[in-house]
Symmetry: C2
Subunit: 419 residues, 2 copies
């Protein structure tokens, strides 16, 4: 079968399955999630066999150890996948809930009711766990999903898809609610991005190159997750012990993720007492400091920061440090170099805390807490599909709610419009 | 100045103005709206002079009377524009409000707070009142706006823009918060659609051709308002007197608008008692009926409906009528031919009413009320920017709330992430 026919059939059957899935009850959807979790453990050896084929090819193609590590599906990965599905089954179902009902003067009762989007396309890179995580979130939010993983994971993804299908056949959820593009033909992505009548939303998950490619080539709306150049601003007066703990956590706890701090801004009156100890703590953890000239007066061992450093998402044990004259200078720096992802202030001053929260145009803005809290689980939304850095539809962590929309439900008793 | 430089300057100054406008208080924004309303009346003669130039050109170019009527700005139009601005000034400001605040187990207080989108581009056809209506809604919701009207209204739109600028110069709202593209060069639209770094949202207002062109050529997210093929389903048992009033209102009260009924579906057991009287009432109002074969057995005077009739948005005194066996047949018809705009059921049956509300995948779904209520004002949202028929970000009438997004505000006292 040609790739055109494959994509066309996938899209049409996803649309139909989406309509059936939208009518499934929360209990039916939860049962399906639990059944998939169960089958994943039951069929572990078959999945690992298929994963071994991907790993063999990866080694032949000279993939790095880090990449092979991400690609590996073992007993631990499968347990984590199954646990994730069980966690999603316990999350509140947004579908059918209503934020508000109001009565119009003519007696009409109007509610905004949450409904699934319909069909979601996920385009992602190597990690096979995305197949299960994304399928779980889409299914629970009542959306059919088409999954397009990387070529390097095709055997693993096909095996996971087979397990999901087998599980769904034993439940009320339509089998075609979760489908994996079964071919590696690169043209399949372009073909998917054209199916605007059957697919309601595209979510790319992966590097910036993948996201830009999808955004530029899609006729379907895309939720984008661009880079995180996250800032912590240490104000004066601030609790400097707290500031040190927050900055250390934001930089060091997991430097390779999008909500890690990349640039530290310090008020000039805090710098002299704050930077030497902070510098020592960073040094002990192997963090390289790249500082502005005022930083280097206090920390002579720091490398000089270039203009590129203020733009950098290091994703590594490196931090850019700048001393600023006042809150306004920090806000200007963030507006100029930030990526609207996550920004935090550490301060004792009420008015400046509130001003920072109001002025900073980022998806998550914090006072006296680590940037690492920009995460669906940490903010109490449950598992997430990524963090949107563009404002339309969703801005920040995308949980189940962000995979739905609302319609207006109107209950009347014969109202007609006059005038 | 080249059109490239004009668009580039407009976009850059809109981005800057948007940031300043986002910090304006509700009182400052309301004062600006009131000042514009005042100036519109004060400068009426100058605006009418410029409008006369557009009307003269329109007559020369042989525009229809209907088009010239839409283009005309007279004392009444200006009063309506001013009243509209005053109405928007009285609407609740969504910016800064929060749906919910919750406390995490570690003590973090998390709120989802409404913020403006930033910069909105509006691309529209002839009516100059859109210039004022759209400017008012964007300004109140804290968004800078770039307005691109039709060539035929360029003198009127420039005059309105001059009045707005003059008014804003006397207020705390930045002058560049509202800008009209001052040239008619067609390339300006394409150039605007490329400014993804400065413009956050594009809203096309006009015919389907305009909307498709914008959707296909924009790199910026687009809120689309496609056609309304709206249905009323008369169930059995239903209050047939109520059904007649609702169907008459939905078809006849204003046939040229998107929320008017285009297709009437009637349960077979209601048809014999309902259709003859309904037919007479339609006939008396000059409505042409195009019926299925079962309709024509009851109304022999009706024209036969072709397949195209089920797809048609007549926007005229024409209605397609189909007799169906049961609710399911009505739901299937709507799923196949509807446009996800507005659908209503008239019924006495509780379970079928609820089933219709749940199953119909349209932006507004009603029980025992006219489709004409799909309107921001009628549903209690205040003035609207159009009705979105796609699901992402907004589905249904777009009021002030739909011109905003949310960010997460997190208040802590030193929390760091563990694990």
């Amino acid at each position: 079968m040609s790739v055109e026919s494959i994509v066309s059939e996938l899209a049409a059957s996803a649309r139909k399955a989406g309509m059936e899935l939208a009518a499934c009850s929360t209990a039916e959807k939860n049962e399906a999630l639990e059944k998939i979790a169960e089958k994943l453990l039951e069929k572990a050896s078959g999945i690992k066999e298929q994963n071994a084929l991907d790993l063999e090819a990866a080694r032949k193609n000279g993939l790095t150890d880090a990449m092979i590590d991400r690609l590996t599906v073992d007993g631990k990965t499968l347990s984590a996948m199954a646990d994730g599905l069980m966690e999603v089954s316990r999350l509140e179902d947004p579908v059918g809930s209503s934020d508000a009902t109001w009565i119009r003067p003519n007696g009409l009762a109007v509610s905004r009711v949450r409904i699934p989007l319909g069909v979601i396309g996920i385009i992602y890179e190597s990690r096979p766990n995305v197949t299960i995580d994304a399928a779980g979130l889409c299914l629970k939010s009542g959306n059919a999903v088409i999954l397009r993983g990387g070529t390097e994971a095709i055997h693993s993804n096909r095996a996971l898809a087979a397990v999901i299908s087998e599980a769904l056949r034993e439940t009320a959820v339509p089998e075609k609610a979760v489908q994996v593009v079964p071919v590696t033909d690169r043209n399949a992505v372009n073909l998917l991005l054209e199916r605007e009548d059957e697919i309601d939303l595209i979510i790319p998950r992966g590097g910036e190159g993948l996201i830009r490619f999808v955004a530029e080539n899609s006729r379907i709306p895309v939720l984008k997750h661009y880079k995180g150049v996250c800032h912590v601003y240490v104000d004066h007066p601030a609790d400097l012990a707290m500031a040190k703990d927050i900055c250390f956590n934001a930089k060091v706890q997991r430097p390779g993720v999008c909500n890690a701090m990349e640039t530290l801004l310090v008020h000039k009156d805090a710098a002299v007492s704050f930077l030497p100890e902070m510098g020592k703590r960073f040094e002990a953890a192997g963090v390289e400091i790249r500082g502005c000239s005022r930083t280097r007066e206090i920390l002579p061992g720091a490398k000089p920061a270039e203009e590129d450093d203020w733009h950098a998402e290091y994703l590594d044990l490196i931090v850019a440090v700048r001393v600023v004259d006042r809150l306004d200078s920090a806000l200007e720096h963030i507006a100029r170099y930030g990526s609207q992802h996550t920004e935090a202030i550490v301060t004792k001053d009420y008015a400046r805390a509130e001003r920072f929260l109001k002025s900073v145009d980022s998806s998550v803005v914090l006072v006296n807490a680590s940037t690492r809290f920009n995460d669906g689980g940490q903010l109490g939304l449950g598992a997430e599909m990524g963090i949107s850095t563009t404002k339309l539809h969703a801005f920040g962590p995308m949980g189940l709610r962000e995979l739905t929309t609302t319609k207006f439900v109107v209950r009347g008793d014969g109202q007609v419009r006059s005038g």
